[in-house]
Amino acid sequence: MSRTAQGLRPAQELTPSWLLTTIGLGATACIAAACWTAGHVHADASLLTVARFLHVAFLVVGLGSVLAVDWFAVLWLTGRRPLAGVLDTAVALQTPIWAGLGGLVVSGLFLRPDLHSPLTLAKLGLVVAVTLNGLWAHRLGQRLEAHRDGPVPAGCSSSRAWRRPSARPAGGAPPSSASSTASPDLGLSDVHQYDPAMITRKRLATGACALLAALSVALLPTGAAADEPVAKESPKVELVLDVSGSMRAKDIDGKSRMSAAKQAFNEVLDAVPEEVRLGIRTLGADYPGNDRKRGCKDTRSLYPVGPLDRTEAKTAVATLAPTGWTPIGPALLGAADDLGEDGASKRIVLITDGEDTCAPLDPCQVAREIAAKGIHLVIDTLGLVPDAKTRQQLTCIAEATGGTYTSVHRTEDLSRRVKQLVDRAADPVVTPVATEGAARCEKAPQLKPGLYTDRESFGEHRWYRVDLLPGQELRASVSVSADRAVNEDYGVLLRAVTLHGREIVRGSEAGDGRTDVISTGLRYPKPEADDGPGDAKPAAETVCLQVSNSFSAPPSVKTTPGMPVELTVDVVDGPSSASDVASFGLGRGWWLLGVLVLAGFLAGLLWGWLSRWRIAVWRTN
């Protein structure tokens, strides 16, 4: 018999191509279904960690097995192992390879993949490619089986000739160098026709790429989808600039206050965000004379509140020159009018260098009245090189409306601060709904979940009502702001009370020292209703919320209008009930371990004695 015939085994039945194609399509469909399912699975953080760990573990198992087979193939190509060894290893490692792929797909279900990222899609494509490659490689393995007992490619005897397979394409020529065992018989050239080296290397390369990509994608952070801003009215800001005679003083960076303000305004107008509607108002810009009454009405709108045209606004600002009086109060009223009454968030930024010259209209009182109107207007003040009286007035204005006060000594501070305030105005905020609590629960307003604002004077109690179904939880929190000078000790109390006056739960907070706000909250989980007669819909319970405060102030401080109160009401589903202090009633600690081991040991001893006694009894009978 020729050597060829000895080398060849009878040709095995190869898996038909149509079957492989069907399995391949089925596998692709499975992976696609897994991707789709993964988008709908909500894994929490602990499950995500476990899934990631398993994903990497299966990756290691699958990739490791593939690399092991490929290493054996390399050993065969370099002549150190017979083909039979490679094929046996390949068959043995089939299980870990496919188990690794399966586990990779299953654990990937919980990884919350970002299916819009190109990297994820590339990784998934590579996984599919590797799967299909694996199916066809299976077939290659079956073909190689036919040459299982073929000669080792030149390895053992000649060390030179083995270089042959690594570079030659399919249909290689017989070796040139003489070699006793590596005979160019049909068996070997048959093997070269398939050139397993190239296919193996290709498989190795694809497999490595795909699985490395899989590893990198598994570690990619989940991309957060950008959330859509809720469409609402765009915010409005009015800059009120002092153009009075005192702005001529040259004490900001060596320039006059007016030029510093102009420079700051230019920078601010360049940086106004798109959605902010800006307006500019001046005070003391027109009347240089001595008639106080006329001087105190000298405030006008320089640029109306609306979408900003930067060049127009800049030219308008450039024309200003320090002129007249400082009517801060009328300017604030004018600015409040400019801003209008719609639902957008409104801010006034007041930039001034001196105190108001138009008593008896106290600007602080004006600010308090503006705030009390409930139109949610915030006034931020900036004092340019302020003295003590200016500072007191400006801090009072800011406190009254919940705004900020800044003292400015440098141009860059001014522009930076105004830019910051304008940017802050552009932040999305929830506008509270004005409500008015009653003195008794029966007359109290019914509140739905949301954010509310009210006013409460010292020592007053305000009541509100919320409906709560069984199995729901009421969450309420309240903040009381100190917008005027108050004494050092204060507190707030929020109580949830039934209609009959039984207190359910309370939240309280007390403080000492300087503060601008004090807050507290409460939680009331209403238990599920026991199923009453029939299928009657459970009745909602009315919970009365009482807000009371213990602020006090020296006699000189006005008590009306009351202090601003902000109330949030949320209704969520009730919590799952706890039957134990510890999670699931489980135990922890060395004492537990010790007690369990001791108990087990004693039980074992007892059982041993029992069985010994039974044997003894059996023996005596």
Binding site: A43, L48, V505, S576, V597, A603, G608
Partner: protein, 202 residues
């Protein structure tokens, strides 16, 4: 604002660079407070919550270590629950002439996992996030494509469901060791047992 999840122990740190000493007129007291999602003030276990900076001090550091967050608590308790936490930095004392001066502050939160010892039974249906709604409303929001308040305030990996704690490991290990100890005890006292030369049935 930062989210805190079950089993975490947040540490809030604030570094404040005070305004120029030439502009200041006296010592100033600064403090940080942490409030939970219900606006209740949370006590600090460790850390200097409040410090007084002398006129010449350029910067101060404040810290507050909160209690570990647990999954559920009584309605009457102030225990920290998973949800959003708010940090408030205020200057509580200082000369009035220093009002309105610019300063910079860096606020950061470190979180360490304190797991099993504080794992409680039961869980809230929704974390303490202002604006949380019932499950039906949340689903309606989700269908409409809007992000619910709870999701918007969630930490990176989402809110944990809280079923895992290291108590499982302790209990299972205890069970396994008890079984092994039982086998050991049995082996000690069982004696020779049935002699093998006796045929069955006798």
């Amino acid at each position: 604002m930062f989210p805190a999840d079950t089993g975490e122990r947040p540490t809030v740190k604030a570094g404040i660079t005070l305004p120029d000493p030439s502009l200041r007129h006296g010592p100033a007291t600064w403090r940080i407070d942490v409030y939970d999602g219900l606006r209740r003030r949370q006590p600090c276990m460790y850390g200097m919550q409040s410090r007084t900076a002398a006129k010449e001090t350029a910067s101060i550091e404040l810290a507050c270590v909160l209690r570990p967050v647990r999954a559920s608590a009584d309605a009457w308790a102030n225990d920290p629950l998973p949800g959003s936490y708010y940090v408030r930095l205020t200057r509580t004392g200082g000369p009035d002439e220093d009002l309105g001066q610019p300063f910079t502050a860096r606020i950061g939160v470190d979180v360490s996992d304190k797991g099993g010892a504080y794992a409680t039974d039961g869980a809230l249906a929704a974390p303490l996030v202002p604006g949380a709604t019932t499950a039906d409303r949340a689903k309606a929001d989700e269908d409409a494509g809007r992000k619910t308040a709870v999701e918007a305030a969630a930490p990176e990996d989402g809110w944990s469901s809280g079923w895992w704690s290291d108590r499982w490991v302790w209990t299972l290990a205890g069970g396994v060791l008890a079984a092994l100890a039982g086998i050991g005890g049995y082996v000690l006292t069982r004696g020779a047992g049935r002699p093998s030369r006796v045929p069955p049935g006798v």
